[in-house]
């Protein structure tokens, strides 16, 4: 018998092993749902799979009775638009600020404490202030996400830029580079792969803030729908929505990862060393 630590599943078994827990979860759900429905056939808590497919047909394929829109797609488009805009804004601010704080000692000394402080404020707590300042429209949701993730991205980039070996900055100067040129050709390219990984991390929180914002004030969006149908306990809609959000989140993450590996080959080559 080999030690447990040396047990390696065969290539073929990998997929099966990875899928097994998902199948188990599914079975557990089916059993629990069955049990509840036997007690109360109208139970909304753990709907049967038939209810799910009906609900999915309703929200994804048939137009809504009231608005004539296909809800799932309208909601997805609305949420992704907000998310995309917020991520783009946060990326630009976080990158610029992070590079400045990390590479310029004078900027780091004066602004780092403020950014560190701001990053600790729970954004949900300052929502009322936000509403007053930017109103209740699309902007407020985008701003909430930005407030939530920009400080984290900024600090991440700052940290990364600080980790650039001092030798490289000196080397660039001995090649005649000015501060601006160093930022452009040394700091920026090395911060970019980190930006993508910071964004991938930030996406998790971004989804949270998006849902929180949509729960509070919205007319469409994935989070809006979940919190709306919560009013009548429509788990047959909530669960598919949650799974859909998870799938979309996974896809976004995957695409970012793929882009990053293609665009920053040097970075991933380096990690293997």
């Amino acid at each position: 018998m080999r030690k447990l630590i040396n047990w390696r599943p065969a290539k073929g078994a990998l997929a099966a092993l990875g899928c097994a827990p998902f199948v188990l979860v599914l079975i557990a759900y089916m059993v629990a749902s069955q049990a509840r429905l036997e007690v109360n056939p109208n139970d909304k808590m753990l709907p049967a799979f038939a209810s799910f497919s009906a609900a999915i047909t309703r929200v994804a394929i048939e137009p809504d009775r009231r608005t004539g829109e296909r809800l799932l797609w309208v909601d997805t488009a609305a949420s992704l638009r907000r998310l995309g805009l917020a991520i783009a804004i946060s990326a630009v601010i976080g990158l610029t600020l992070g590079m400045a704080l990390g590479a310029l000692p004078i900027a780091g000394a004066s602004l780092s404490p403020l950014v560190a402080g701001v990053s600790l404020i729970p954004p949900l707590a300052i929502l009322p202030i936000l509403f007053i300042v930017v109103g209740l429209g699309e902007l407020s949701k985008v701003v909430l996400i930005c407030i939530g993730i920009t400080p984290v991205i900024t600090r991440d980039i700052e940290q990364r830029v600080r980790e650039i070996p001092r030798e490289l900055i000196v080397k660039a100067q001995t090649l005649g580079a000015s501060t601006w040129q160093i930022m452009l050709r040394v700091v920026l390219p090395q911060a970019l792969p980190r930006l993508v990984s910071a964004l991938r991390l930030g996406l998790c929180s971004a989804w949270l803030f998006l849902i929180a914002a949509e729960a509070i004030a919205a007319e469409s969006g994935l989070g809006y729908r979940i919190f709306l149908v919560r009013r009548y306990l429509a788990m047959d809609v909530i669960l598919p929505y949650v799974l859909w959000i998870t799938a979309v989140a996974y896809l976004t993450d995957y695409v970012l990862g793929w882009i990053s590996r293609r665009a920053f080959r040097w970075h991933f080559l380096g990690q293997l060393q």
């Binding site: 209740l136 709306l228 919560r230």
Partner: protein, 330 residues
């Protein structure tokens, strides 16, 4: 000695439901429960919808809610529920507010902030009916009740529907005008104590205890005596305002201080008509569940008549316990 049966009921902050807090704080609930040999725990929740969901999921045996939510959440979810106590109806506690405009007709084309699918939504629908308009003429923006005051302060918010105490905060804004309120549809937004029908049938003592405690407090609350003032002051505190603020909210609430009052309201045919309208509104907005083929999918039993499917009655207005209270004194 034997183990007393235990029950849990949930309540959330609202002017008409503050007596439940007082019942727990003053020991009146415990007195009645002890007398009947049961235990009743009164639990305050922060989020109104969540409290009803919890009740529907079976975590509570009773819960305060409006007539519309009783129909669309527990009843439509297959949980047979009984409106044990009809406590009050909103008589101005819910209102439509416009900023900068002062006529209801001006609401057309605006974005209206409100808690979607709640009684606010129903009030708005009724307001629109009164000016021969429909929901198509406006755009509804779902806005959480906790944030509606902040939302009202935002410059791009022009119209909203909400209830007290938020309503009174919103009305304080310099440009705000209340253009429609629930006193124009009296008796349609009703605040209830709803309990699980099966639990109630098995334990009538639960009904007796809740009703007994409620009307003891009602008597105290309506009295001008120092004890009455003290009770109202305590309720005011618990709802985050002072006595004056609380009494101004009471003015827009039609409380049924005596059981006889409540019984009379429950037995009137008007209640059946109201519930008919509510059922239609709920069906139109998909609140009765997707299985529902018509507004009558979920049956509602009132003293005067049964509305909708009599084979599927899930919401019952039962005045029998309140009638007992008319005769019984503690």
């Amino acid at each position: 000695d034997e183990i007393k049966p235990k029950f849990r009921v949930a309540w959330t902050v609202y002017v008409g439901w503050m007596p439940w807090d007082y019942a727990a704080q003053s020991g009146i609930m415990k007195k009645w429960a002890d007398k009947l040999g049961i235990e009743v725990e009164i639990v305050q929740l922060n989020d109104y919808v969540e409290s009803i969901n919890q009740y529907t999921a079976g975590k509570f045996d009773g819960c305060v809610m409006t007539n519309m939510d009783a129909l669309t959440i527990p009843a439509a979810g297959g949980v047979d529920s009984t409106a044990l106590i009809v406590g009050d109806f909103s008589n101005g506690n819910d209102g439509v507010v416009l900023k900068g405009k002062d006529k209801l007709a001006d609401i057309k084309g605006q974005r209206v902030n409100l808690v979607e699918l709640s009684v606010s939504h129903y009030l708005l629908a009724r307001a629109l009916q009164s000016i021969k308009a429909s929901e198509k003429d406006i755009k509804v923006v779902n806005t959480s009740d906790a944030d509606i005051v902040a939302a009202a302060s935002a410059s791009d918010t022009t119209a909203l529907v909400t209830w007290n105490p938020q309503l009174s905060e919103v009305k304080k804004l310099p440009t705000a005008h209340e253009v429609f309120n629930s006193s124009q549809i009296p008796g349609e937004i009703i605040d209830l104590m709803v309990v699980n029908s099966a639990k109630l049938k098995a334990n009538p003592k639960l009904g007796q205890a809740l009703v007994g405690a409620w009307y003891e407090i009602m008597e105290l609350m309506s009295s001008p005596s120092p004890a009455g003032v003290a009770a109202r002051t305590a309720m005011a505190k618990a709802s985050g305002t002072d006595l004056a603020g609380f009494e101004s909210q009471l003015k827009t609430t039609r409380m049924f201080y005596t059981p006889a009052d409540a019984v009379k309201f429950t037995q009137s045919p008007a209640l059946a008509n109201t519930m008919q309208q509510v059922a239609e509104f709920s069906f139109m907005h998909g609140l009765l569940g997707e299985g529902a083929k018509s507004a009558g999918a979920v049956g509602i039993a009132t003293a005067s008549r049964t509305i909708g499917a009599s084979a599927n009655v899930k919401l019952r207005f039962d005045d029998s316990f309140m009638q007992q209270a008319v005769s019984v004194k503690p």
